[in-house]
Symmetry: C2
Subunit: 109 residues, 2 copies
Amino acid sequence: MIPSQDELRRLHAEICSGVADPIRIAILYVLNEGPVNVTDITARLDLPQPTVSRHLRVLRDTHLVLSERQGQNILYKLTDPRVITALDLLRDVYHARISAQVRVLNSSQ
Amino acid sequence: MIPSQDELRRLHAEICSGVADPIRIAILYVLNEGPVNVTDITARLDLPQPTVSRHLRVLRDTHLVLSERQGQNILYKLTDPRVITALDLLRDVYHARISAQVRVLNSSQ
DNA sequence: TCTGGATATTCGGATATGCGAATATATCTA
DNA sequence: TAGATATATTCGCATATCCGAATATCCAGA
């Protein structure tokens, strides 16, 4: 059975909602430097461990990251480096927009 | 004053939350084909006009779209085509991931 | 200035999301 | 198997988001 357009958009939005949180964005950029376990993420971001675990679950559920047990630890890594590309793009769009606004404000002094 | 890392991540997440909704994604892809007014968006997506207006406001607030009055109508357009690039990337990441899962399932029959 | 078409806002309620705190589960090692 | 470390889950609550329905605002033209 072919998924409807609506269903595809729902799924698309679901992935997007995975990146719609500051903590998850921070985690993704940490993972962009290489696979890391939960304790290290917790330490690098200075956040409570349960908080990190809950956000990691969201990232897993939205297929943005993958996990792999390594003995006592669980190693997390990006599913795909393009996740960071997308995040960078959105950030750039924002910056470009704000810069344009600043220019307009300055030029109308 | 320099915005903190946390503040930057909050802003980054805010933009991302702009694309974290199926209706808004649909609107963005409509706008990708060129500037459109609210009535046309409403017709093309077959949605109630207040619903479209509310989502357009979110898109404006997150700097993802721009609006411009043209007489009686208001023309909306993408702030930056890279918004669509980012959306496509995230969709591709998802598809690649799901395809990989399907392959694993099939190969283990 | 009145009218109609285009767009935006508000309200109330349902649902979702995030967090801290506490606790559970899993794995290794002695 | 007991203890220690790593990770995940649950609960209760506060907050945010979404929607439909109703209504308000804005602008062009008669």
